[in-house]
């Protein structure tokens, strides 16, 4: 039975630009519907329109029928909002923010439950949580537990439609798989699940129907198996090709006498907890790419900081081109700018209240003989960045552009080694492929070394010459 039927949804913003054009989707009980698309494709707007939550000033046309009821005009936000909790439920991106911080889990579940005679225990067990979790407050839940609690809320509630908004954003591979299992439990219970994501792994594992959105239009839709095996639209094909597991790996041999970075017997741990890593050795030759991978919290970022001389190791030594930054302050001063970091959130490496161009020019203050007008233009061209971007503030730049600008900032310092900490985890797959290709190319051109930190094993394997899996420090 069809419980969500959206017909001819068209959304314009306050300046009358079409953001979504003529989108129709439907989902039946016990069926997942996955809407995939990159940032700005309009996929989240579809969810907001269904919930009657579009920003003020937006105009919307089309109809939404929820729970088998009569179609409601999509511009009647108040009528749509009346279906909340009764016919439709949202699993938001940040699950902890959706729970009342001062109410115990059990009471929150009871509030949503249709059948109040049953305690919260059964629902919690259904999502693999101990019944005792009912007595906890949201602040003592981890992100994953909070998500489970929300799914339990959906299970005890009556809503036949559940919308999951980017349920796996920023999660590592193991957690993506667990979240997919969790969402599938909703489907098994006969709910219609609408998942909005740019995560192909999640889309593959949920199955059901897939709708691919680009520039506000649904360019292709159909059963997941068909869309993933025989994509018809060129955009879908490009998207699938951007999946790192399909890239040709590249693994080369290097002259191991010419190292930009070496580390021996590294150990680091926080007091009272087991060491994050111990007796760790690694070597990065000129022109080589080393990847560090493993689940969140395994110490990848900490190791990156140790290699960059930011955090001192408990034992072992780091060698930058023959000098130890922790024992040789003169070498640290001399080599500091040559060992750089590319951050996960590229926008945040720029001060918010200063234009990007000014911040790049600021580097001249610490680098004698640096003339931004000479070195920057060819670099911008190489990174395919428009010079007009330099006049913007960091908040006015898209994720892909920001990562390339952050890269430009680092490259201006002519680094010998870049530690790239999850440089693409916030980017869409197509942009990720572009940025990774760029990074690899630059490593070759400039003969620098790179340490890539990523929770995505497939990406690490496809990019690096050597992979260290920090789950159990096994080299692949």
């Amino acid at each position: 039975m069809t419980v969500l039927d959206v017909r001819n949804l068209t959304i314009h913003d306050a300046r009358r630009r079409a953001l979504v054009t003529d989108a129709s989707i439907s989902a039946g009980s016990g069926e997942p519907l996955v809407i995939i698309g990159e940032t700005g494709s309009g996929k989240s707007l579809v969810a907001q329109a269904i919930l009657g939550l579009l920003p003020r000033g937006f105009t919307v046309a089309g109809t939404v029928a929820i729970g088998g009821g009569a179609p409601i005009a999509a511009d009647r936000a108040d009528d749509l909002r009346r279906s909340w909790a009764r016919d439709i439920m949202l699993l938001p991106q940040e699950p902890r923010a959706a729970l009342d911080p001062i109410m115990r889990v059990g009471r929150q579940l009871a509030e949503a439950a249709v059948d109040r005679s049953e305690g919260p225990g059964a629902a919690l067990m259904a999502v693999d949580l101990e019944p005792s979790v009912a007595r906890l407050y949201p602040f003592s839940l981890s992100g994953g537990m909070a998500q489970r609690v929300l799914v339990a809320t959906a299970l005890v509630g009556a809503s036949p439609v559940v919308i999951a908004d980017e349920p796996t954003k920023g999660l590592d591979a193991a957690r993506v798989a667990r979240t997919a299992d969790l969402l599938k439990s909703l489907v098994r219970e006969g709910r219609a699940l609408v998942a909005i994501t740019h995560d192909l792994a999640l889309a593959r594992s949920l199955g059901g129907t897939v709708a691919v959105m680009k520039d506000g239009r649904i360019v292709e839709s159909g059963p997941a198996a068909r869309v993933f095996s025989e994509p018809t639209h060129p955009y879908t094909r490009a998207w699938l090709a951007a999946d790192p597991s399909t890239w040709a790996g590249c693994r080369r041999c290097f002259d191991m006498d010419d190292l930009v970075l070496a580390a021996h017997g590294l150990r680091f741990g926080y007091p009272g907890r087991p060491a994050l890593f111990d007796a760790l050795d690694l070597h990065v030759p000129r022109g080589g790419v080393m990847a560090l991978t493993g689940p969140s919290g395994c110490g990848k970022t900490t190791l990156g900081n140790v290699l960059l001389g930011i955090q001192a190791p408990a034992a072992g030594e780091v060698t930058w081109a023959g000098a130890d930054p922790f024992r040789d302050p003169a070498a640290l001063r001399r080599l500091r700018r040559r060992y750089q970091k590319l951050h996960q959130d590229p926008v945040s490496v720029f001060v918010p209240h200063r234009t990007v161009g000014r911040q790049l020019a600021d580097l001249g203050q610490v680098m004698p003989g640096f003339d931004v007008t000479v070195v920057l233009p060819p670099l911008l061209e190489r990174l395919k960045l428009a010079p007009a971007l330099l006049g913007r503030y960091p908040g006015e730049i898209s994720g892909g552009e920001a990562q390339r600008l952050a890269l430009a900032r680092v490259l201006l310092m002519e680094p010998s080694l870049i530690v790239a900490d999850e440089p693409t985890s916030r980017l869409d797959p197509l942009v990720q492929k572009e940025v990774i290709g760029l990074l690899r190319g630059l490593v070759d051109e400039r003969g620098m070394g790179m340490v890539l930190i990523s929770h995505d094993l497939a990406l690490a394997r496809a990019t690096a010459d050597e992979v260290i899996d920090m789950t159990n420090d096994r080299r692949r």
Partner: protein
């Protein structure tokens, strides 16, 4: 991507920012140019014409010594508001500097500065100014020091909290890796957000400083007669309340409007700060 909750939670623009601006603007204009427009000497006595009601020559009447009340209110404005501004600027300067030192300095510096600010916060605000003025005799300097001492801890705490947050941000680490000095990082990365956040306190602080100055003046511990000052004027006119209520209402109204203006403006600044931060 914008999560739906963001749409629901975005704070609305509210609380008459234009009204507060007009009030603050009017008060500033009164203090800046008023004394030049009202040429009457605020201290000129005319004992034959005491406690006279309003007339064309003296629109607010005369006080118990026959002085022109309008002239005294207008000439009092630069004193009350000017001293308030001085107090708040000094307090914010000291507070922000100490707050940054606490955030950026050693653990010991942090502990010392923060316990000191706790100590100051534990004092009932006006009491300290009262004590100082009492011991050192009235006048402008003890009053300045007293009010400043009660105001700086708020600035220090706010500056410290904001600075600690900013220092965790990747752009600070990126600047350190690029080899920028501590001073540059402090001035370029930390100070601007700190100043933006303390703007609210500065504006609200002006209101409370005007109140404190008037209270001290009223108690005879602030500016000394015959200097025209709003608090002192209320004190002088208090015995004649039944005969000349309008004369006393004038300085009261002036204090009321100044405090109201700065408080509303402080709210508007706070709203603006929140809004600019939650904007996409």
């Amino acid at each position: 991507m914008t999560a739906p909750s963001v749409t629901l939670g975005r704070p609305r623009a509210r609380r008459f920012p234009s009204a507060s601006l007009a009030l603050v603007g009017a008060m500033t204009a009164l203090a800046a140019v008023g004394p030049f427009l009202v040429a009457t000497d605020p201290n000129a006595q005319d004992l034959l014409r005491v406690l006279e009601p309003a007339s064309w020559a003296q629109p607010l009447g005369t006080d118990h010594l026959g002085r022109d009340v309008l002239a005294r209110v207008v000439h009092g404005a630069p004193r009350s508001l000017g001293i308030a501004l001085l107090c708040v600027l000094a307090a914010s300067g000291v507070g922000v500097a100490l707050g940054l030192a606490a955030a950026y300095g050693t653990r010991l510096a942090d502990a010392v500065i923060m316990r000191l600010s706790d100590l100051m916060l534990a004092f009932p605000g006006i009491l300290l100014a009262l004590l100082l003025s009492g011991f050192l005799g009235g006048g402008i300097v003890p009053m300045l020091i007293g009010i400043k001492l009660t105001l700086w801890p708020q600035f220090a705490r706010m500056a410290r909290a904001v600075a600690i947050g900013v220092l965790q941000e990747p752009h600070v680490e990126a600047a350190e890796l690029a080899g920028f000095s501590k001073h540059v990082i402090l001035a370029r990365h930390v100070l601007p957000p700190v100043l933006r956040q303390t703007m609210t306190l500065t504006t609200l602080g002006l209101g409370s400083a005007v109140m404190s100055i008037s209270a001290l003046g009223f108690l005879g511990l602030g500016l000394q007669p015959p200097t025209p000052e709003w608090g002192a004027m209320i004190n002088e006119l208090l015995p004649y309340l039944s005969e000349a209520p309008a004369q006393m209402a004038a300085p009261c109204l002036a204090i009321f409007l100044a405090v109201l203006g700065f408080t509303l403006a402080g709210q508007a600044v706070a709203d603006e700060t929140v809004r600019s931060e939650s904007a996409p």
